[in-house]
Symmetry: C2
């Protein structure tokens, strides 16, 4: 066991713990609230956001997987559940015999249009209303730094 480990100093410890805690509590809270007020989970919400972002409201499953950075199995199952609830529909692809389109339904649009305002408002209240613009920018910088280091890493 190496004796030269560079442990975290107290400031780093603090920041690290706080980050983990904040994220855990925040996502639990957002999920609970979303669930309670609109019957959607965060995953449902993310799928619907991606589908509404595209002109015709439909995407191939693999595009959805790419956009969400999800495992394809996760997409498959999430879409299956959402289809059962009528939020999306699946359709075979004419161009590619293997393909599966995922299309948002009217009910799906309704659901996200109902859910979005309160959700965004809550994010604003819990996060951004407490921060200065400088802090927001630093937050972005920090997160982007982590992301780039994750990409670099072996």
């Amino acid at each position: 066991m190496p004796l030269d480990v560079r442990w975290l100093d107290p400031d780093e410890q603090r920041a690290w713990r706080a980050w983990l805690d904040a994220h855990a509590h925040l996502s639990a809270r957002l999920n609970r609230e979303l669930q309670a007020t609109s019957g959607l989970s965060l995953s449902d919400y993310d799928v619907l956001v991606h589908l509404t972002d595209v002109p015709d409201g439909r995407l191939r499953a693999f595009e959805l997987a790419r956009g969400l950075e999800w495992e394809k199995s996760r997409v498959s199952r999430q879409v299956a559940r959402m289809a059962e609830r009528g939020l999306v529909e699946r359709a075979a692809s004419p161009e590619d015999g293997r393909g599966a389109y995922v299309a948002i339904t009217a009910a799906g649009r309704q659901a996200i249009e109902n859910a979005a305002p309160a959700h965004v408002e809550l994010v604003r209240q819990l996060v951004f209303d407490g921060l200065t613009t400088a802090q927001v920018r630093t937050l972005a910088t920090v997160a982007l730094s982590v992301l780039s280091r994750l990409d670099d890493a072996t």
Copy 2:
């Protein structure tokens, strides 16, 4: 549907997305690495950290739940799994007939002592080596702000 929603501005969007992405990728990566190099999950790791932090290496289940901020059912199941692998032991409490102590075993100590250095090193590489001390402090401030707003909220 309210028309006066205060949507996120571009900077906020960016910070929000980056935060979520960074956390998702980072925790996936840390989990994978920990699993691969030491056979522990992040949850295992957290439990072991809490147990090594206390003098006699044992805690009542409810103390563990409090410290980890976990549901008691989660603690119960996690401990059951870890006991099966010999990382911890359960013991009845003499003082309280209902009580259950969770104690780290020699194997558990060994496991975390093996795992910790590489884990901390990775956190350092992926997060802190890329940040200035000012950024670290801002990160802590931001996270703490979110936490306090979560507490306030109804």
